[in-house]
Symmetry: none
Subunit: 162 residues, 4 copies
């Protein structure tokens, strides 16, 4: 190898090491994947009991997507809604439907949905708390009536309190 080739090789090697090791892994923020998977499974079981087809999203305490499933045949337009519901619930640490009451015309938070790249403020998103009451993430569900969506979200979040 000539000099240039050696330098190039060294650079490539450094870059390879840079990414292949977990040197840059960040500590986890809130809910773990195992926990999020349990939340999703419980929500999906509830949807099956309802006979509904749901999109189910879980975000962590930083409002970052952690787990997602779309049941076969569920609305395509509900992918984004489920994710936005989960983010909205974590952004304000309350059920999305609660926020929605305040976002009606004439109410204090009318058109809050224009913030944060788009919020969803009807029911179906709820914070996920651990047994000590800390918010560790949120779940968002979309695919049926808002009552059904909310019931499925509640069933998912409830897993972390057992």
């Amino acid at each position: 190898m000539n000099y240039q080739a050696k330098v190039l090789f060294a650079v490539m090697l450094s870059l390879a090491m840079l990414f292949s090791a977990n040197a840059f892994a960040g500590g986890n923020v809130g809910i773990t994947l195992d926990q999020a998977s349990a939340v999703v499974a419980a929500a999906k079981a509830k949807a099956e009991k309802q006979g509904t087809l749901m999109n189910i999203a879980v975000v962590d305490a930083g409002a970052n997507l952690t787990a997602f499933v779309r049941m076969d045949g569920a609305f395509l337009g509900s992918v984004d809604i489920a994710i936005k519901k989960a983010k909205t619930a974590r952004f304000f640490n309350m059920p999305t439907g609660k926020l929605g009451e305040l976002a009606q015309p004439g109410k204090p938070l009318f058109n809050i949905e224009f913030s944060n790249g788009g919020l969803i403020t009807f029911p179906g998103g709820v914070p996920i708390k651990d047994k000590t009451g800390n918010v560790i993430g949120a779940i968002g569900v979309s695919g049926s009536s808002v009552e059904n969506d909310n019931e499925v979200a509640m069933a998912g979040a409830a897993v972390m309190l057992k």
Copy 2:
């Protein structure tokens, strides 16, 4: 019941039926959730073997998100990259790295990333085919070197060929 109440009742009933039944469920487009879950599980197993922390996304034949997991401690910035890799791979039915070769400066598709709300054209996204060769979806993986990302994506997609 007076007339108004009857009308209201009828409307409420219609709305309830509208959403509680699966009247609007779409025929599935490509990969099912069960299949997508198997793809994700195989990809995750590969990542664990590598000792890497990955974001893993699966889209269906319509390029709509079907399943997603973020391993604990995986890059937050890779959530979006994994999803975009999966979509890109399905948008053009080829591995993202293949598209990336054509998207370099001076090449035919330079800056194609500006389309579709943002593409990712480096390795880590691959189409998912069934045994007959039909594209039924795609997988996108992000969290380590592009070589590792791609290897994990390939391991995921391979499940559908067994």
Copy 3:
């Protein structure tokens, strides 16, 4: 040095000068950082008195972000809302709540929130004026009820009138 090296050297030197000097510093537009910091401090003190957790943003006369703080534990979704409230207040030189009255269904500015990449039109954003009545910027506050948000914003803006 050969000719190419000399040209390269000259270019590098120019670039270095370009950025290291303040040749391109803009004359300030309205509120200074010292003033904005005083506004933020007064707003934060008010929030502490209320027992609320606020996001506080100050923009200058050009509606560009000048200072921002998020109090520990304040809503994550309020980062963007506080900034948008400040911008909205400066865009139209009026309290955001005043604009919101005109943005209700049936009112002249219904859905004005669609402009400028998203406005927030409920209370919590107010223009900052100097003693001569000139608008020199605006403050946006988000994290509690709109009444509390607005009170904190007013307390911040009041500093410039002392």
Copy 4:
């Protein structure tokens, strides 16, 4: 009060309580405001020593904006760049310049900037770690040469290691 008025009053009261209390405050994710303010102050002191005019942004472990200042006369276009540098550094837990080496034409991560609503991959963003090595946030600096930007960012992050 008649019945309707009583119901309305009860609803308004509930809403007022909903927001005025901190019932929905989330636990903090990573860096605190006091820490972020110390980071910003150290960065600003460094910029003053350099004679540069900087935009300085700090995000927490969830990549959410925590503190921001723009020095008088600093580039307006650098507001967004500073914030994006901070987010990018946290998204991938590495200095933005390190990521930029990999994002050049022909390199593994070419055009990664198209993800996450826009990344900035030249120097000036660095992760903030605590003394135990945990990533608790990131700082992004923009306003001068990338060398100066990076030096200021490093000076800011260094505060947390003292």
